[in-house]
Amino acid sequence: MTRIWKFGDNVDTDQIVPGRYAPYMRPNADLATAAFIEARPEFAAHAQVGDIIVAGRNFGCGSSREYAAEALKRRGIAAIIAVSFARIFFRNAINLGLPLFEAPDIVASVQDGDSATLDPLTWQLRVGTTLWQLPPPPPFFRQILEAGGIVAYVQRYQRFPQG
């Protein structure tokens, strides 16, 4: 059963993957195991494919390190739902095909450890017995997500998405 991992405001990229765990520093390590390795060791130990992160304001602030978003993607996180995202993290996650949703009402309503599943086709989130419809990303980003990331998008269409 997949679950929600709830975080507070201003989760910075040093918490998601400390710079000491960058691929540059540990080229042979599995990046997926580095996600929240110090800030939330139980996540690092127990997060499963399909789990969902729910957070407050400004998730992913700080460094431009794409490996923060990449570590969560490799860990199998299905989506991140937050009140808001920091700019570079938002861009990195969408580029990698990791869906992000700004949905303050869901953030306010769900608890850490709630069992939850996300339907990646309809973007419906089931938390316990409640069904939430996640707000669709703006069209520009939706194009990238539907292609599976910016690299796949550019390879398919030979251009960047259109606003």
Binding site: Y24, R65, F160
Partner: protein
């Protein structure tokens, strides 16, 4: 309604008028990456994009600043891989010891007014000090820019910060940068550009301090209106003027006259208080350096305070000049000798211990006062370590006493 500086620069880059909220595909003037990420960008470029040649080698700049000289065999191999690629493609590369990307690109006049500079580093906002649109991005975006020569950007809304008055003695641009974080929070300018108005008297170094920290309030860019004080090496395009009736999403005014030294407490950059609210906070490590505060002016300020004094017993005072030019200048006027005689430890020009990889990684019990830009938990080493952020003047005064000290209170 007239355009903001960001709208003007991105309109120029797009070749047609654009405004906040528009998405544009442009050809950045400069695509910067440093040793920490160039190896992984190379991997994306070759393995995911299947590319072999960069679209325009003249667009690219590589620096070696994050772990220099190499600390491990694999880092040495990575750096050599980058050197080979640069040589084979004809890409400019600034070697180990030359300095921090954001300082070097300004010293080399690669970042100049009106240019669009994208970088694989969040502090790329620093190029706004010379009126360039500097913007940080992740590795995949940079790899795509290598392969296509292009990138996409959403034109940002602008937060205008109007500065009034002048700093009192021993209060510096860093105190103002921290004050802004305190006023508007870590996401106060998320997705926005910041424009700093009302302080044409600010030196280039002061502008770099503020622009580098624009990202700490979430900004995409942080721009000072360029002016002739930058000198002839920074020509200002005739279209890059400030229009009084430009549309700003928000305006805030900060008065510098009454600003006391500011300190960011662990573990976020918005957790800022007046220095005098802190009593006798002991420090084990002082770090003077980074793209925010590792310039000649910062070393000279520290030297003025430390002249004839000693670093307190039990304190490690690490000084990392932002560049070779900074080091040379500080050596030429005796500032460096003053710092070393006082007990400072000098490291290779570059990013130093800012992201906790070498040159003074913090242990569990360490309490660090850093002139850098981030004090997130685990940033400089152990997650148990505590990091305070302050100006170079406060760092130097605190080095003497061993606790957080206002330089104005020293005899």
């Amino acid at each position: 309604m007239s355009p903001t500086l960001s709208e003007k620069i991105l309109s120029h880059a797009a070749g047609h008028p654009v405004q906040a909220g528009d998405f544009v595909v442009i050809r950045p003037d400069v695509v910067m990456s440093h040793d920490s990420l160039t190896p992984s960008i190379l991997k994306i470029f070759h393995e995911q994009l299947g590319a072999t040649r960069v679209a325009d080698p003249q667009q690219l700049v590589f620096t070696m600043d994050h772990v220099v000289p190499a600390a491990t065999v694999s880092i040495a191999n990575d750096q050599n891989r980058v050197r080979r690629f640069a040589a084979e493609q004809g890409i400019r590369l600034f070697e180990v010891g030359r300095g921090i990307c954001h300082q070097v690109l300004v010293e080399e006049r690669i970042a100049t007014p009106g240019k669009v500079v994208i970088g694989s580093d969040s502090h790329s906002t620093a190029y706004g000090a010379v009126g360039a649109f500097g913007c940080g991005m992740g590795s995949t975006d940079i790899a795509l820019a290598w392969a296509t020569g292009q990138t996409w950007l959403r034109v940002p809304e602008t937060l205008r910060v109007i500065l009034q008055g002048r700093f009192r003695p021993w209060v510096e641009a860093k105190d103002l940068a921290l004050r802004l974080c305190r006023e508007i929070g870590l996401d106060g300018a998320n997705y926005m550009a910041v424009e700093y108005h009302g302080a044409p008297w600010m030196s280039l170094a002061e502008r770099q301090t503020l622009a580098s920290m624009a990202v700490e309030v979430g900004a995409k860019a942080g721009l000072f209106p360029p002016d002739p004080s930058l000198g002839a090496d920074f020509p200002i395009p005739e279209w890059l003027t400030v229009d009084e009736d430009a549309h700003y999403a928000r305006t805030i005014t900060l008065n510098l006259e009454n600003l006391p030294p500011q300190i960011a407490l662990p573990h976020t950059v918005e957790n800022v208080v007046d220095l005098n609210e802190i009593n006798g906070q002991r420090i084990s490590v002082i770090f003077l350096g980074t793209c925010t505060n590792g310039r000649y002016e910062d070393l000279a300020t520290a030297a003025r305070i430390l002249r004839g004094r000693r670093v307190a017993p039990g304190v490690r005072f690490i000084v990392t000049p932002a560049s070779q030019q900074v080091l040379t200048r500080a050596a030429a006027d005796g500032s460096l000798q003053t710092l070393i005689e006082a007990g400072a430890v000098l490291t290779t020009p570059g990013c130093g211990p800012c992201m906790g990889r070498h040159h003074g990684v913090l242990g569990e019990d360490d309490i660090c006062l850093s002139t850098g830009n981030r004090n997130f938990r685990g940033r400089m080493g152990s997650p148990e370590a505590r990091i305070f952020l302050a100006s170079p003047a406060v760092a130097a005064a605190s080095a003497i006493t061993g606790y957080i000290t206002d330089p104005a209170t020293l005899d």
